[in-house]
């Protein structure tokens, strides 16, 4: 199978799953829909009816990690092609990636020393 056919197969799989689920929803709907009753549609919060919206500015305490993570994630773009040819290229590849990872590790150490690796 050519690769384009594989991609179409995966796409068909996605469409198939979504269609199955929608079919299931439709079937359930034919059997009857939810009754609209007071209080039912308020998000459950352990017996207290709290209707106030919660969509506010959320304080994520891990933003120090998040910033370092962005950089590490970027590095993966290079890691995979490197890994595939590593055995073929040999020692040069190890040096090369060694330097690259050492540079990244330096960044990690800097972040650590500055207190980025903790709950803010």
């Amino acid at each position: 199978m050519s690769f384009l056919e594989l991609y179409s197969l995966l796409l068909a799989l996605v469409v198939g799953i979504v269609a199955t689920i929608l079919g299931l929803y439709g079937f359930v709907r034919v059997m009857g829909s939810a009754r609209g009753e007071p209080g039912k549609d308020v998000p459950a919060s352990s017996g207290v009816l709290s209707r106030d919206p919660v969509w506010g500015r959320y304080h994520a305490r891990y933003y120090g990690y998040a910033l370092l993570f962005l950089a590490f994630d970027m590095e993966m773009a290079f890691m995979y092609p490197w890994a595939v040819v590593y055995k073929e290229v040999g020692l040069v590849a190890l040096y090369d990636m060694g330097v690259f990872l050492a540079i990244l590790f330096l960044g990690l150490l800097y972040g650590w020393s500055q207190g980025a690796l903790r709950r803010q």
């Binding site: 009754r35 039912k40 919660v54 304080h59």
Partner: protein, 582 residues
């Protein structure tokens, strides 16, 4: 005993004609897949000796995940309202089982009601299954409604909080569309609001960076707004904005074009807000945890103000507390000694034996009876047995909070066995309890989860019981765990050397008068009761419990903690909301 109503559960389906065969199968599936939400809580069900999972029901975490509302014992009015909210949020078909009480007026009639025992529960579940398999798709069901579910809709301007209209429209000040908001009676209790002001006050002291103007705004705002408006901080943002922002076109995102230079400045907009430890200002959110929450004892309502997943302030209230004082009781009801014992021990389902003993001792002292050495062993035995059961109940609760399913199951099984065990069977259980302790010591992650969490401030006072005894050993959740485990084995030793545990029975006191005072070291700490007896009737009493003291520690314990740590800190106190006197 039997159901007075047809299964009122159901009726989410209008079309009965189609798919009748499938509906039959689905109805059978309903009967095979019962998931219950226990009101007031799983801890109470266990303390009553109910083994819910033995009946084949799962225990749901939230009303969404449940189809049986299992009410254990009588409910206070507040808890009745809570039950109504939970019931309203359950997806149909939904059912109600009431064990050993009457159905709260806020709920529709129970589908099945039965006594408060394991056999009755099993029988009730059996009946419920049959009813569900037959009548799950009945069309006769009516919409459920309760006063607690109703709110008034009002329309406010997002920019001008003072603009509140009854009908939709646009703001007279800026022309923006008004946003619908529900004003009114959502929270069932009003107690905490007084504290709330104090807390905000505290808060202002911590943040010296605030300008004076801000403080003024804050108070003003708070009075103006509905007390239930939990997002007061964000409102605040707007009012602060309103105050200074009109000159700066950049602040107004009301749909105007700001021109090329009008960047909005977050620094400007948020400068008056309270800051977190890292100097960022976010919207704070007031979130209720409890009264019916898997991670906390049933009936305890913990309200946390969250800044992200960090707690900035919080406090606990009890919806089921016992009254601490009784004056001139006999005017309203006849309260002879036995009735009073029954009343108090029923009011505290998590430690009924301890309070029974407490009342017995107090009345006997009031009657001037000497200490009874013949019964002392039996009474101590019963008290210590309850201590073991109660600590096991706490371990099960800890397991629920930590998602530590093995601990929950093991501790709950042991608690059910210990509850009414005699001396020999307790001795037989000793290896199992010992093994549980060893196992907990070896569980990875447990120490890192508990160590350093719920650290009590050094100047804490009013500590009692295991919490006080663990305060010397580090004063954190880890120390409390080991304190309770140590108490379990100490209690076992006491029972082995003492007498056969027997439920304390009041000795014959006759129609005496007098005052008496007694102290009992309940599983959660010393409880004191002083009462006045008049011709054999309890005229007045005053009760002082450990949990009333401990609940005051909550604000300090949760402040500045991560959400999970804060809940764990509260859980580690082993607060019994029933023993919080009001």
């Amino acid at each position: 005993m039997t159901s007075d109503h047809p299964i009122n559960t159901t009726g989410s389906r209008q079309r009965q004609t189609r798919f009748a065969a499938l509906q039959k199968w689905v109805s059978r599936a309903f009967a095979r897949d019962l998931s219950c939400l226990i009101v007031p809580g799983q801890d109470v069900a266990l303390a009553h000796g109910l083994n819910v999972s033995a009946t084949g029901m799962r225990v749901g975490a939230s009303p969404r995940d449940a189809n049986v509302l299992l009410i254990v014992g009588g409910l206070s009015e507040k808890m009745g309202e809570v039950a109504a909210v939970l019931y309203a949020q359950m997806p149909r078909p939904r059912t109600i089982i009431v064990l050993g009480g009457t159905t709260p007026s806020s709920l529709p009639g129970a589908d099945v009601s039965a006594g408060l025992s394991q056999e009755a529960l099993a029988d009730a579940v059996g009946r419920l299954k049959r009813a569900l398999a037959e009548g799950a798709f009945a069309t006769s069901a009516e919409d459920f409604d309760a006063s607690v579910l109703h709110v008034k809709i009002e329309y406010v301007c997002p920019m001008h909080p003072e603009v509140v209209e009854d009908e939709p429209g646009s703001c007279p000040k800026c022309g923006m569309d008004l946003v619908a908001r529900e004003a009114g009676e959502s929270a069932p209790d009003h107690d905490h609001e007084h504290h709330h002001d104090e807390h905000q006050h505290d808060h202002e002291h911590q943040h010296h960076g605030h300008e004076h103007e801000h403080e003024h705004e804050h108070c003003h705002d708070h009075e103006d707004q509905s007390h239930h408006d939990h997002k007061h901080h964000s409102e605040h943002e707007h009012s602060g904005h309103d105050h200074s922002g009109h000159e700066h076109g950049g602040h107004d995102h009301g749909g105007h074009d700001h021109g090329a230079s009008g960047f909005m400045s977050m620094i400007e907009v948020t400068k008056d807000l309270p800051r977190s430890a890292d100097g960022l200002q976010m919207d704070w959110l007031e979130v209720p945890f409890g009264p019916v929450f898997p991670g906390l004892p049933g009936g305890l309502k913990l309200t946390l103000t969250l800044d992200g997943d960090g707690v900035t302030e919080g406090q606990a209230t009890s919806l089921v507390g016992v009254t601490s004082e009784g004056e001139n009781i006999e005017e309203s009801e006849e309260m002879d000694a036995e009735t009073f014992i029954g009343y108090l021990s029923a009011a505290i389902p998590l430690a009924p034996v301890s309070y029974r003993l407490l009342v017995c001792l107090a009345i006997e002292q009031a009657a001037g009876l000497e200490d009874d050495s013949a019964n002392a062993g039996a009474r101590t035995g019963a008290l210590e047995r309850e201590r073991i059961a109660s600590h096991l109940g706490w371990l099960a609760q800890l397991g629920r909070q930590l998602g530590f399913a093995w601990l929950t199951q093991r501790a709950a099984t042991l608690q059910l066995q210990v509850r009414e065990a005699n001396r020999d069977s307790l001795a037989a259980l000793e290896p199992a309890l010992h093994k549980l302790t060893i196992r907990l010591g070896r569980t990875p992650l447990l120490k890192s989860r508990l160590k350093g969490v719920g650290l009590l401030p050094t100047d804490s006072f009013g500590l009692r019981g295991p919490v006080a005894r663990a305060a010397d050993e580090g004063g954190d959740a880890w120390a409390r765990l080991w304190q309770r485990l140590a108490e379990i084995s100490a209690s076992l030793d006491l029972i082995k050397s003492g007498g056969e545990p027997e439920l304390p029975v009041l000795r014959d006191v006759g129609d005496v008068s007098g005052t008496g005072e007694a102290t009992v070291d309940t599983p959660r700490g010393e409880a004191r009761l002083s009462l006045k007896l008049e011709r054999g009737h309890v005229k007045s009493y005053e009760l002082d419990t450990a949990c009333s003291q401990h609940i005051g520690l909550v604000p300090k314990l949760v402040e500045g903690q991560e959400l999970g740590d804060a809940l764990l800190a509260v859980g580690s106190l082993d607060l019994s909301p029933w023993e919080v006197t009001s």
